[in-house]
Symmetry: C2
Subunit: 288 residues, 2 copies
């Protein structure tokens, strides 16, 4: 076993642009993986995917305050930048961009972005701040780094659809790649928030993917959606979740509901549920 290689870290936009500019002048293609740190195997899969598609990969590591509401877990969000840098280097990342809040949102900052369409409903109901904050920070990061390609996880499926939407609307010249969700051996989607769970909560959390898979299979076989969704909702509560925000089957592209209550086009099942103070989300293709 050898030590992981050390990773260059840029703290300012000027440093970031100098390094990425050097790469581009050499004709290298640049991939980017925006993260909020607290990295796990899910993020590293995104880095490896970016490395497969480009010559140099940079990961940003920034807990973005504009996507948290006042009552949310900004202060509680885990921070471990040294460990993150070690993990990124091991996965083939070439640069970590870890700016301060002051570098990203200096005194006098006055601009915001709003997204409707795929941002409405689901996570947009539960966390009204979030997608505007994501749009703002991702737009900034793309303009700062000017990558050719950026990779995001399907774990945050609605977020991926929102990102595709504003990247297209604002004509950001970046190709967006969605990467399948990484899961543990029980099928639990990897998430920074899993670290908050007790042993007992973890057992319940592992039922989430099974309940969604069963509902997805039933929907794919033609069962009407209201019954399927109601049953998934009850099963989540019975498995030990304290509250269910949604468990719903939507059109895969724009997340609109199926008008005829039957899956007759590409579909996605999405759910959000609470264990104590921890909110978990998951999603998967229907009939895939």
């Amino acid at each position: 076993m050898t030590d992981a290689p050390s990773l260059p870290v840029a703290r300012s936009v000027a440093e970031l642009r100098q390094i990425v500019g050097d790469w581009k002048r050499q004709g290298l293609r640049v991939g980017m993986v925006p993260t909020m740190g607290a990295l796990h195997e899910g993020h590293l899969t995104l880095v490896r995917e970016a490395a497969r598609r480009t010559d140099r990969v940079l990961a940003s590591n920034f807990v973005n305050p504009t996507q948290f509401a006042a009552h949310e877990d900004l202060g509680r969000y885990p921070r471990q930048q040294e460990e993150d840098a070690r993990l990124l280097a091991g996965a083939g990342c070439d640069l970590m961009f870890a700016p301060t809040v002051e570098e990203m949102y200096p005194q006098g900052f006055a601009t915001s972005i709003a997204v409707s369409g795929p941002a409405l409903g689901l996570e947009g109901d539960a966390r009204p701040q979030m997608f505007g904050g994501v749009a703002l920070v991702v737009t900034k990061l793309f303009n700062q780094a000017q990558p050719d390609v950026a990779v995001f996880g399907e774990k945050d499926f609605q977020q991926l659809m929102v990102i595709r939407r504003f990247v297209r609307d604002l004509d950001l010249p970046v190709e967006i790649i969605g990467s399948p969700t990484e899961r543990d051996e029980h099928g639990l989607a990897l998430s920074s928030r899993n670290a908050y769970l007790s042993e007992k909560e973890l057992a319940t959390a592992r039922s989430l993917n099974l309940i969604l898979r069963k509902a997805a299979d039933e929907a794919a076989s033609g069962r009407p959606l209201p019954g399927v969704e109601r049953e998934a909702y009850s099963a989540l509560l019975k498995a030990g979740f304290d509250r269910v925000d949604y468990a719903t089957i939507r059109h895969a592209e724009d997340l609109t509901p199926f008008r005829d209550d039957i899956v007759d086009a590409p579909a996605r099942i999405l759910a959000a549920a609470w264990l104590g103070k921890t909110r978990l989300i998951d999603n998967m293709a229907v009939g895939a």
Copy 2:
């Protein structure tokens, strides 16, 4: 006298990117002048300024619906693209980008931008839609064309300050240049909207710059601002303006009022006033 050279026109973002991409691969620096067409000498000065600073100049020609409110003059705004292309070619422009509304805002468009700070008050009061619409279209145009430099007129001084603000906030990698207002031999600031004026209105319009200059000189000499502003306001009505939205002296950088009612830092006088259905704006440095 010879015919003006003909000007290449890009109608789609794909065409635009191909031409600008070719320039960039040759190592040429690219300047951009965003316009809504109806070009006059003021715009051509911006094109010449861009040509002085860069190797290739493109002008966009797009009457942007998102910066007009429902009751405003979108439909009435003058359109003369062939004449515009001729004028641009004569001023040293290399490409006109004239997209359709559908190319800029396709079905499903779901993103908006809001700016506070310098966008609050003055024009922001009179036209609440405008600066968000300007921020959206300029962000799109910059991401579409990826120019190195963009030139805007000081005629729309608040707009210039707003553009500097969101370009900095969103980290758009474009250098913003402000170019002094072009005026006719009577000092009237050139504007597409001057075309709406009758002969009698034109005579009144020409008093605007004289009234502002007098007020600016008095403010620069230390006279308290409330009296200076009141007098300018009355002088505009007496000269024949039908209504005055504002005539005010502000800090030049962020357009905030002077708290002590005396000019003790770089200042700008700004005014907006109506002649019939036509709204004119002007501004100038105080004490310059």
